[in-house]
């Protein structure tokens, strides 16, 4: 079957007087790894819970694989969710947790055993089927939660902040692991995250949410290089936002600006003074005060070994960028 796996049509969800989701239209294609990105309270988790069926929209509708999900309870949806807290059953062992959903379906015992074993090997937890969740590390628990949702072979897997509870080192490895699984299984993943780096590096497409609405949706590259608004430009990565005319802005990424001691030959050149240097190892981030306008952020890779940063605080520098280096914004 063709057509989008998820179609969200004008969905509104209110909690009291608050519009948690304030009119969202969205299509997610089959096999996509789609990320919903936004700060806390932007409505991304509510949207995920609407997809799972834990909440019902006040208006609008949600179609999953062409089926209208209005009034369909969670246990009848072809969707599984990985909870932020993992929500593993503490009174069941790992195998029992993974088998839970299959038992509810009435799958035969030998098949359950085979599919649980398959799921365990998929998330590389062979031999841990007899452990209780309390006997596992955080990373292992996350894998059990993933296996428990995947074993049901859902049309759509929802992941609520899947990496938030892991420490940084583990998070980076798990990111690639999730993408590998998603590609290997050919499933559609919808990930909710507040971490823009996570969304950018994993998603094939992402939507930035603010105040219950989708502000912009597109590929990570689109959103980074062609933000549609100052909010998106500012939310994703770093940006210098310069007001070039009333109601007209230029969003300029720090790494698109060249830093030099002499006046550069680029279309735009501005003189300034280095106010701050943040050394990050691979690159240095400079804050430069220019004669007219805000502090400019400029990033430069530290390609040469030996010197710390190319410029120091107080150095007089030139900033240069090309005509097409920035994105013109109207909102």
């Amino acid at each position: 079957m063709n057509g989008p796996i998820v179609k969200v049509d004008g969905v509104i969800k209110r909690f009291g007087a608050v519009n948690a989701v304030a009119g969202v239209d969205l299509k997610i294609a089959r096999g996509e790894l789609f990320a919903l990105l936004g700060g806390s309270g932007c409505g991304k988790t509510t949207l995920l819970r609407l997809l799972a069926g834990f909440e019902q929209p006040d208006s609008g509708r949600i179609l999953i694989d062409g089926q209208d999900m209005t009034g369909v309870p969670p246990h009848l949806r072809p969707v599984n969710m990985m909870f932020q807290s993992y929500a593993l059953f503490p009174h069941l062992d790992v195998a029992g947790n993974i088998a839970y959903g299959l038992k509810r379906e009435g799958v035969a015992k030998p098949e359950i055993a085979a599919r649980v074993a398959e799921a365990l090997s998929l998330v590389k937890l062979e031999g841990l089927g007899g452990r209780r969740p309390s006997q596992l590390s955080g990373g292992q628990r996350q894998r059990v939660a993933l296996a428990r949702a995947l074993v049901k072979r859902p049309k759509l897997l929802l992941l609520d902040e899947p990496l938030a509870a892991l420490d940084r080192k583990l998070r980076e490895g798990t990111r690639f692991e999730l993408v590998r699984l998603q590609e290997q299984l050919g499933l559609t993943f919808v990930i909710v995250t507040h971490d823009q780096e996570e969304a950018m590096s994993m998603a094939s497409r992402l939507a930035v949410m603010n105040a219950g609405r989708i502000v912009q949706a597109g590929t990570p590259h689109d959103l980074y290089e062609r933000p549609a608004s100052r909010f998106v430009a500012d939310f994703i990565g770093l940006a210098n936002i310069l007001e070039t005319a009333p109601g007209r802005w230029l969003a300029l990424r720090p790494e698109k600006i060249a830093l030099s001691a002499e006046r550069p030959a680029t279309a735009h050149a501005v003189a300034g003074t280095v106010v701050e240097v943040a050394y990050e190892g691979d690159r240095s981030l400079y804050r430069v005060a220019v004669d007219a306008g805000p502090l400019m952020q400029v990033a430069q890779m530290n390609v040469a070994r030996g010197t710390e940063s190319a410029f120091r605080r107080g150095d007089a520098v030139w900033l240069g960028w090309a005509d097409d280096a920035g994105q013109v914004l109207h909102e």
Partner: protein, 279 residues
């Protein structure tokens, strides 16, 4: 410091162990109606022998266990939905709901049981209402039957069921129920496979807190159950005060203790385990 630790032990020694030893000694004595006190000390097993040979005592035991077990079951069936509802209520309303559960404790237990007599007697409020509303012409005889005992026990012990159940349900992570429903469980199976097993410690604690005192209950069967109902607590009272047979009454008390040691130890182990799990 040593005094602080020693004082409670001293207290228990004087007011619990000593009387218990006294009862044990009396149980092996011989009934002597003409002396004061009416007992001759010695090692006489006659009282125990009587307990195990006279059908009256066996019948009283069995009926006590049956009444206590059935009341515990009814209390559980009533208390579980209550505790569940309180645990899922708005956190701001929970203290009020819990206070309502323990509110009856503000009135003396004895007075509350007397109030039930007024409610249930043939000219009591319940029968007057039934007659006035035309639902029944003849008054129902409830007071003096086993029904009244069940009513009394369930009423009096309900808070002891609700509170431990609430304590274990309140700790339950509700996202587990969402996870169950997400994995395809309908509401009832989700409850039976997730919430119920996870609240088992509360169920065990609540049942034992009701069952153990209900077996030896005296006031409720005496005031509400009338003369026909047999419960071991009442038998004990009758042997001591009506028949003045101290050794036999003491033997009944010792047996009651022995029978309840099992469930009490179960309760202790359960508490111990849930403490360990928390740490």
């Amino acid at each position: 410091m040593r005094l602080v630790i020693a004082l409670p032990y001293l207290w228990l020694g004087i007011f619990f162990l000593l009387p218990l030893a006294l009862v044990l000694v009396l149980a092996f004595g011989t009934n002597a109606p003409d002396s004061v006190p009416p007992v001759e000390l010695g090692v006489d097993l006659a009282s125990f022998r009587l307990l195990f040979t006279d059908d009256l005592y066996l019948a009283a035991w069995l009926s006590s266990l049956r009444i206590a077990a059935l009341s515990t079951l009814v209390t559980l069936l009533l208390g579980y939905p209550m505790a569940y509802a309180i645990a899922r209520a708005d956190p701001r309303r929970r203290p009020l709901l819990l206070m309502l559960v323990v509110l009856p404790f503000w009135t003396s237990f004895l007075i509350r049981v007397y109030a039930w007599m007024g409610l249930l007697s043939e000219n009591g409020i319940l029968n007057q209402f039934l007659r006035w509303s035309g639902m029944a012409a003849d008054p129902y005889t409830i007071l003096g039957t086993e029904w009244a005992i069940y009513l009394g026990i369930v009423y009096a012990y309900l808070p002891f069921m609700v509170l431990p159940l609430y304590a274990s349900l309140e700790k339950l992570d509700w996202s587990l129920l969402e996870a169950a429903s997400d994995l395809g469980a309908r509401p009832l199976p989700a409850f039976l496979t997730v919430a119920l097993p996870l609240s088992l410690p509360g169920i065990v604690a609540g049942c034992l807190l009701v069952f153990i005192p209900a077996v030896g209950e005296f006031v409720i069967p005496d005031l509400l159950g009338g003369t026909r109902t047999l419960m071991i607590g009442k038998v004990l009272w009758d042997e001591f005060f009506t028949n003045s047979d101290w050794p036999l009454a003491s033997a009944v008390a010792i047996c009651l203790l022995v029978v309840l040691v099992g469930p009490i130890m179960l309760f202790q182990r359960q508490q111990q385990r849930s403490l360990e799990r928390r740490s």
